[in-house]
Subunit: 361 residues, 4 copies
């Protein structure tokens, strides 16, 4: 069950980075939602490698095929299976990883857990696994658009290493974010970020950063009390993305230094709508959306693969050294932006269906 | 399903803060685990109000009753139901909350979602709901002790507002933490923290802070790739605790400013054991424990209930003001320490059983 | 997870026949459904022992308490916990069962599985466990009545041993069934059935029979293709009732001797409604209700507890003999009628909520 | 969630009979189980059309591809995705079904539920959907063989229409069953059954029958009390197979006419093993296997597609007539035998993993 997410809009991803392919089944998509492969491809293209000067030069088309669940351009209500074939098997590029554990990768822990692993390309811990998530989320986005047309999810790079971006979550647009290859919401910071990534890559090193995300237009009432709070499910979704180390919503860690009188969000009436004057809550109160923008941030560590020699051990339990090679992202954040959006839409869609079941008209 | 957690060690909590009582069913506890009510009570007593000078003066015994699932002091393998009766119903203390939404509480969002709510004491969003979690986690702790006797989970207050604690997660002891009523792992910081809480309380205000948690002695192999990563499930568990705003594991948000060469944790052999020289990973790689201490931090906002007048709105959609009254914690962190430990043990226990099913002997 | 049922209207039962009590949590009940303890008690009273001359003379009130989830006579949308206390602990009545396995009971298999069991009263395999199901189903019935007021579920005794009842599922009424203590839908057969039960009881023996059930007024569209077909979930629900050995829907086993031309149900228009001229399908086609009455039958074996000496073995693996004693039902069917209805309503309610989530307005 | 089965060995099937293909993901297969495509193909070949003179003449190879989850001939512990491409799209063969509902098929109920359906070939209600089940079950069989090498599941045709087979479940062999194209365990009855099928087919009509199944060598302890009883999960699994109308275990419906003294299965010691002298329980007591052979029967109705004109209605709600055409099985039982075995193995495997999690060494 490790590869399933969602109570009602349930996705099951599959596939190693090397093998027949990667993909996903969505079981729980409502019928009659307009859907074509083009809807998926546009999101997959934002995720794919080789798309810009700051991503890995590896070039894969990641062309998807919808195997089931649609008819005449609309969903049937049956499981939607999506397949993206793997290309360019180059298992020889991973030959030394068969016996040597890459530091801060999942090589050792997979062996410790399963007693086996596919050493080529990281197996299930490969970034390729996120293809299934992005494809499924493209469908979630269509479902959300169908039932809540005003919902908009946008993520952007908030910082690269120590370079901050100045972004207003209430007004930033998709065009702002896509205007620069680093996908920051602050185009003015893009050049410095791009230069930093290139510099670090030329050193054979890597860097991380923070992605911020907003959901605007979310109706009040999504999310559940207790365990399946909206922010709890978002936290899980975000921490399930490879390379993430933290999540915070609304005021986050900085909010821990405020007093209650500073942190509370006073309610007021905006015509017929209940609003809050501030948004330290980040759009969620008691686990349930309150109609304000949902705002959160996700911490990404620097990419584990670097081009310098590092101490490590072998499968046979000998100390050794290993130097990365091959083509990798020196900074995953530009490609992680659509993945953060994807996880957000998957979780919102699941909660929307849950809400309809229990509290719908 | 909003009140269920866990795939195999599955808990279902129930109960409003006012009503017949609160409690939990654990479905999925292995048989023949030694268990008595005293095992639960010791953990419940760490959570209960009125236990010290820095918690709410409200005094509840929170005495628990095991209704089912044990026989002659051991578990049967059948569902274990636990009930804690509510005492001192004082619904009149909440009379103004029937129609007026407390800022940064769940009053408005519950009404928006369900069209109804129990206004007395916050209903399911009351801290009383965590009684079921703590009771269930006391059982999880026994199961962990049965199968992995070396596992130890400890949480402590890492900061109160801007007062930090200096704690070594590798060596801090339960005795250190319980030696002071604020439950910081740094007894030297306790007096300042206690003074700050009392000061803020005397102002009718509130403060938050950060709790840190370590799991020592966790075997490698717990956790799953992809969605049910150990850190993802921990993130969900922590963000499901009332008043939390953030979660970070290992290097966390600070790690986003490091380079890969600084952040990677080199492996080395320690006798026959694979270890890492540093622990920026926080004990988890690729979603699976690597045998190093699991370390994470959780952000708690200041308590929403404060004793000054705040702008808000009524259920009837009129602007108004509301001033808190009654007995509340000015700082929830001392009582939240056992809850952080509880959520951790619940998640570890679930993953332990999952590991046994698939990868056990 | 063995004690949970339902994807959305999820119930978790608990309790041994001897211990603090038995009960259930319902997680997934929509808000604002009118509900009081009287709604539950009326169904529990149909299930309880001691209610008539053909049930065990043991007399238990089975008074229920709603611990949570309601407010001012309506559901809150939060978990509803229900507790029925055990009375009259007489564990000494079960002293010989500690070491000796009753034939065709669960004593041996529980020991084989768990390595332990509560020997008093059968533990979780006691008929008392069904109290939680009946209480939860009383709520399911209220939810169904709220959203589909035309739905009516009725079960009745179709045969006792070899005594058949002649019942028309389209016209039989609750009054017909409750008019006789054996709960057959054919009052003309009741006297013979009652006489047979009394006769068998006087011999210290036991008998079984068949219960038939109809759901009238079920809208088309409930149920899911593939695994969660309405009849598949009904089959599971029925076979989860103690002492059941078979399930058949519509034409059932007898239908296997018909030809397709005889078995197919021709469609026709009845005004604006699609109907079928015959109902060999039993109201379900492709796993989904078609608007015709849903009709199925459930086989119950004779009660395992009899008052004559039987060969068996001890826990210590010695051959021995055992003679039942105490107060038992010689025929469980009269009390099983409300349990069959209960399982039906639980499954219908779950599918109704599922349908709302995916295909609702 | 309609296309998922299993708590731990969880399968998700997908695919319409016309479209890119059909298949399954297995999430929850233990690592290091030997597995190749040949293991799957041998079971798929028993299910495929065109295999003999009593099945539809349609000829499909149903060649499967394992897309993920294996490495060097063994499972990885990650999701195993299996794809079988559809061949010979002939949607024109279904042109009249776009608007006209076939009697006793799922056409009307799918439209009633989803508001849409893929009219070609029955969509998800096609027998082709069972390909994913059979492929997944071939893996379940390997897992069972790995952990419980003595387990053997065998199903056979017990009756065709009113022609019975005389089979001893304790001694029947796979060779007996596969020795005849109708797959009865009684080769002496095969000729008559084959002749009957051919006769009915020549009339353009169809027939049903009963399949019996035994699990020999199942260890005591599999199954759960209460809802997830082994027989309850088997009942659900069987009733989820298209065209099934009933399920009975052990003594079944016939057992309802026995007295308790006749029906109870006396225990005795067979060396160190607890055995029963009779097996009216069908190998399951209190929902848990007792070590005796598990025996059950499944009723299959006659195939709905027949070659004579039948009354029906159109999507536009007009009365009309429809005559089947194309190539269909006049009797599904020979091809349903491997599907009954498949569902059995899927359910046993799931319960084996559950047992390991809670009660394993």
């Amino acid at each position: 069950m490790s590869s399933q997410l969602g109570q009602l809009f349930r996705i099951s991803t599959f596939g190693e980075s090397h093998g027949g392919g990667v993909g996903v089944i969505i079981d729980g998509c409502p019928p009659l939602i307009p859907l074509t492969e083009a809807d998926l491809q546009v999101e997959l293209d934002r995720r794919r490698p080789g798309q810009s000067a700051v991503t890995t030069p590896r070039n894969e088309a990641d062309a998807c095929e919808i195997l089931s669940g649609t008819y005449e351009g609309k969903t049937l209500g049956s499981p939607i299976a999506i397949l993206v074939r793997n290309k360019d098997h180059r298992p020889e590029a991973y030959s030394e990883m068969v016996d040597t554990y890459r530091p801060s990768h999942a090589d050792y822990t997979y062996d410790a857990k399963f007693g086996t692993r596919n050493p080529a390309g990281g197996g299930r811990s490969s970034a390729r696994e996120t293809i299934g998530r992005v494809a499924a989320a493209a469908i979630a986005k269509k479902v959300l658009a169908h039932f809540c047309p005003q919902i908009e999810t946008l993520a952007w790079v908030k910082s690269i290493q120590n370079i901050p971006a100045n972004v207003d979550p209430l007004t930033v647009t998709s065009a702002d974010i896509e205007s620069n290859i680093v996908r920051t919401g602050d185009p003015a910071a893009a050049d410095e970020m791009i230069a930093r990534i290139k510099e670090v890559r030329s050193e054979g090193n890597s860097i991380g950063g923070v992605i911020e995300c907003v959901v605007r237009g979310c109706p009040p009432g999504l999310g559940e009390p207790v365990f399946d709070r909206l922010e709890a499910d978002l936290a899980k979704g975000m921490l399930s993305i490879p390379a993430t180390k933290g999540f915070e919503v609304g005021s986050g860690f900085a909010g821990t230094t405020l007093k209650g009188s500073e942190h509370n969000d006073p309610f007021y009436m905006d015509g017929d709508t209940v609003r809050t004057k501030t948004n330290n809550s980040g759009g969620v109160q008691g686990g349930i959306s309150n109609g304000e923008p949902i705002i959160f941030r996700v911490a990404f560590k620097p990419t584990a693969t670097i081009m310098s020699s590092q101490a490590t051990v072998t499968k046979g339990k000998e100390d050794t050294e290993l130097k990365g090679r091959g083509r990798h992202d020196a900074c995953v954040l530009p490609r992680a932006v659509p993945i953060v959006e994807a996880m957000t839409n998957l979780i919102l869609c699941d909660h929307l269906l849950r809400h309809r079941a229990f509290c719908g008209e």
